[in-house]
């Protein structure tokens, strides 16, 4: 008589026998539990801590943990596919030996129950320990004062348990459906059947080539930073489609072309590699494309998060050339007189015994326009806008540089010469302006950075009347007067001055603002710090997935190559030759996705860099450095995984085949 413990025992012994599959699977599951638990407990801890900016940080953490949870379920489901596929032969054998489908499901139930409980316990315990450490890390990278409180939010524990119970439940359901749909005898037979030769799918290969070209072209041709967000998603989608097509069809077309070339094909190395690769590509196309996309995602995420975090001071300097910005806005219909910001502010400063250092005044107007060749028209149609321009006054430039540039009221001065060449005629809403360009110089660049210039092209007009004429048609264009200045932050009254500056300037509500670099710095660190923090979690999640896909690929291939290995030895290939040829194929399969990912990143780089400028991140060398270091670290990590899994692979290949 079967005891009650029969199925649990069978489940445990089955998992133990397949530890080559289950150890990494359960490890990954535990890690994912841990990641999810840490993120969600962080939401609680940050929300309750009362730290500055904790509210928005907690929202970011919560949103990320929702996304992380969804991804986790998907990943678990995906990895389960590999594990269960490897075991289908074993299940076939069980059913030949007399276990019915119901019994198999019971067996699966116990296996999944053990997996679920085991990974939850390990993951939450590890998470509870590490979440304190992670909280410290979060406080550290957001430069917030350390205020450590040790607690385990039960809410987070509950959510984690529910989520993973649901996730494993879905996995179980999937496996049960699989069992009921399959014919065990068929499974036993199928493994011994030969794989069909892959067909050339020209249409898909062509689609891949086209979408890739289109995606790359989109990413490369976008000029204006404000447009880059609009094209980045379509470009990414095109490249993702292209990646799947390339791996599944183009690779096979290329390999078949190689095989057609008899002189090339009938050489020992090429002969074995080309035919082997044809089959590997057929079976692995989707997995490799997944790895490629995950790798690209990891690289983009980590390099931009790190770059934004490291570059915070640069971004601050570019947004805040001085400690304080006082801005007065005037829209088209404003009736208030033009303010004398400098005088007013100086007066207030004097009352606090303070002095304005390096004051500089800028009058500017940001307009959204449609440019077609040399014709610029202001437009309200969002879809028409393809440029953002900044209008300024020539007087202010001359005053600051000590220069004496002059313009007629039919002329406009431009530095940004990539799209605007000397003598070009610009038609702005019916008025014609002739473009005068200035060569770039250090003095000019300094002026631009000193006045908080963004990456938009700047048009200088002779005087305010001309400027007003140029923006006339644009209802929404608001004129702003900005006063930048530094002050002695160490001074006794500095704090009071800073607090009261706003109240003392008598301006109507809504048309006036003060911004302080020191406040912005705190916001920046908390914003980009939490972004980096969350980015690290997603990178960890992607890496776990990548590693497991690679690992299971190696194992699956190992079992298939074992038979091939044996036959080649008998036919007269030496062990060393077999090893070399197998190693080369494995390496190709391994490093192909990474190489493609790096190419993707290279093509995406100009677009990414423009996105960075939207965050006022103009330090290109820093961004290049971040991308390069991320790529190198990733490559190193990937190679490490390769070396470890390759050992398992050789072990499988050289072991005696199952009878």
């Amino acid at each position: 008589m079967r005891s009650f413990l029969f199925y649990p025992r069978l489940a445990v012994s089955g998992m133990r026998r397949n530890k080559i599959l289950y150890v990494p699977y359960l490890l990954a599951a535990s890690l994912m539990v841990m990641l999810f638990y840490i993120l969600s407990s962080m939401t609680w801890i940050v929300g309750n801590s009362g730290i500055k900016g904790g509210g928005s940080m907690s929202v970011l953490l919560m949103l990320s943990s929702v996304v992380c949870g969804l991804l986790t379920v998907l990943i678990l489901f995906y990895l389960n596919g590999y594990v269960i596929k490897q075991r289908s032969r074993e299940f076939g054998l069980y059913s030949v030996l007399g276990l019915g489908k119901g019994n198999l499901c019971l067996l699966l139930f116990w296996e999944i129950l053990f997996s679920c409980i085991g990974s939850l316990i390990c993951g939450i315990l590890a998470g509870a320990v590490f979440s304190q450490l992670m909280y410290l890390l979060l406080l550290n990278i957001t430069r917030l004062p350390v205020d450590l409180e040790i607690w385990v939010p039960m809410g987070a524990v509950n959510i984690t348990v529910y989520l993973f119970l649901a996730a494993w439940g879905i996995v179980l359901l999937r496996n049960v459906i699989r069992i009921f749909r399959s014919d065990p005898i068929e499974i036993l037979r199928r493994t011994s059947q030969g794989e069909q030769e892959p067909r050339s799918r020209w249409l898909i290969a062509l689609t891949g080539a086209c979408t890739l070209t289109a995606g790359y072209a989109l990413a490369l041709t976008v000029q204006d930073p404000s447009m880059v967000l609009a094209i980045f998603l379509p470009a990414t989608i095109l490249v993702i489609i292209a990646t799947y097509c390339i791996f599944s069809a183009l690779s096979i077309v290329v390999l078949k072309a190689m095989r057609k070339n008899r002189r090339f094909y009938y050489r020992p190395d090429n002969f074995i590699n080309v035919s082997g690769m044809l089959y590997r590509m057929k079976q692995n196309a989707v997995g490799l494309a997944n790895i490629c996309i995950l790798a690209s995602a990891v690289l983009v995420t980590i390099s931009s998060c790190v770059c934004l975090y490291i570059g915070e001071e640069d971004m601050l300097d570019s947004l805040y050339p001085r400690e304080v910005a006082v801005t007065v806005y005037r829209n088209k219909y404003a009736e208030e007189p033009e303010p004398d910001l400098l005088a007013a502010t100086q007066e207030i400063a004097q009352s606090y015994d303070m002095e304005l250092l390096d004051p500089i005044t800028v009058t500017k107007c940001v307009v959204y326009v449609h440019q077609n060749g040399s014709v610029i028209t202001s437009t309200h149609e969002t879809s028409q806008i393809n440029r953002t321009l900044e209008y300024r006054l020539l007087d202010e430039l001359n005053a600051e540089l000590g220069s004496s540039y002059t313009l007629s009221d039919q002329e406009v001065l431009v530095f940004h010469t990539k799209d605007f060449t000397e003598g070009m005629t610009l038609q702005i809403d019916g008025s014609n302006f002739t473009v005068v360009t200035l060569p770039e110089s250090d003095a000019l660049n300094t002026y631009l950075t000193q006045t908080g210039a963004s990456s938009n092209p700047i048009f200088f007009f002779r005087d305010k009347d001309t400027l007003m004429r140029a923006r006339q048609m644009d209802e929404s264009a608001t004129l702003s007067y900005v006063l930048w200045f530094d002050y002695d932050i160490e001074a006794v009254n500095a704090g009071l001055f800073q607090q009261n500056l706003y109240d003392h300037l008598n301006c109507s509500e809504g048309n006036f603002g003060t911004r302080f670099k020191s406040e912005a710095r705190t916001d920046f660190y908390s914003m980009y710090g939490s972004l980096l923090f969350v980015g690290l979690f997603f990178v960890a999640l992607f890496l776990i997935t990548t590693v497991l896909i690679i690992y299971y690929k190696q194992i699956t291939e190992g079992y298939e190559d074992r038979q091939r290995f044996r036959i080649m030895r008998q036919v007269g290939l030496s062990d060393a030759e077999v090893r070399t040829s197998i190693r080369r194929q494995v390496q190709m399969v391994f490093f192909l996705p990474i190489i493609v990912a790096l190419v993707h990143i290279a093509f995406a780089f100009p677009a990414l860099q423009k996105i960075m400028t939207l965050f006022e991140m103009h330090n290109t060398p820093l961004f290049i450095g971040c991308v390069a270091v991320s790529a190198l670290v990733f490559l190193g990590f990937y190679t490490g995984v390769y070396l470890i899994t390759a050992r398992t692979y050789y072990h499988i290949v050289t072991s005696a085949p199952q009878s």
Partner: protein, 255 residues
């Protein structure tokens, strides 16, 4: 000088842990002359596959020697073994052992490609063999697309294409139906008539009756041998059956 000389061959398998050892071959002696077609018969576990593996250099004997054209196999260094197999031996297996990643053509050409042979010479040999073995239309198919008999003919072509000194066949008809078996055996006879030396291991009396000589192996030694001489296949078949009966009953008396 004989083509193949097997002297006092002994093979003992020892389990890595624990002292259990199994004697597969006790003391095997025989020689094969050039152009001979020899079948080795024996029941499962009689050591015939071990013997074949040692001759094929896939396994090493515990003691004793195997010489092919005077060269002792155990003196060939490990790294030269693959090349030696490729150049001197042709294999035909019960389960065909064709690679499913190659077309029939490429499966047959595999040993030549490994030898870096000239393309034209490869084509010439392939053309000759495919005509002789009736593989013409099958060349561009893949192993999973053709029947067992066709697969085995492809395997024979792969074994023959290097012009080996010796063809080693391990139960070549074991996975075939009777019609395909008949075709295969006729092919073996045909190539033997052209001077090809064949050593076949089998427990099928039908297969053995096509050979010129049958060695009976039992408990790790060559127990008996028969020559076909001028007998027809059927007469030889009868003789083998009688001998087997004798050996089985004799064996029982001895035990």
């Amino acid at each position: 000088m004989s083509l193949l000389e097997v002297n006092h061959l002994k093979k003992i398998y020892t389990a890595r842990y624990g002292g259990n050892s199994v004697q597969a071959l006790a003391d095997v002696n025989f020689t094969i002359e050039n152009g001979e077609y020899t079948a080795i018969m024996g029941e499962s576990g009689s050591g015939k596959t071990t013997l074949l593996n040692i001759i094929a250099t896939l396994d090493r004997p515990t003691s004793g020697t195997v010489r092919l054209e005077g060269q002792e196999l155990s003196t060939i260094p490990e790294r030269r073994l693959a090349e030696f197999r490729r150049k001197n031996l042709g294999f035909v297996f019960q389960d065909f052992n064709l690679l499913d990643t190659f077309s029939i053509r490429d499966n047959i050409l595999l040993p030549l490609v490994l030898d870096r042979m000239d393309l034209r010479e490869m084509d010439r040999r392939l053309k000759m063999l495919s005509e002789q073995l009736g593989l013409g239309e099958l060349l561009d198919h893949y192993p999973y697309e053709v029947s067992g008999g066709q697969k085995q003919r492809a395997a024979v072509a792969r074994a023959l294409i290097t012009n080996p000194r010796l063809i080693l066949a391990d139960e070549p008809s074991g996975a075939l139906d009777s019609k395909s078996t008949e075709t295969l055996l006729r092919i073996f006879e045909g190539i033997n008539r052209q001077g090809q030396t064949i050593l076949m291991v089998t427990h099928s009396t039908r297969a053995a009756s096509h050979a010129g000589r049958v060695l009976f192996i039992k408990d790790g030694i060559v127990y008996h041998q028969l020559y076909r001489g001028n007998l027809t296949v059927d007469q030889f078949y009868q003789k083998i059956v009688d001998t087997l009966t004798l050996i089985t009953t004799g064996g029982r008396t001895n035990a």
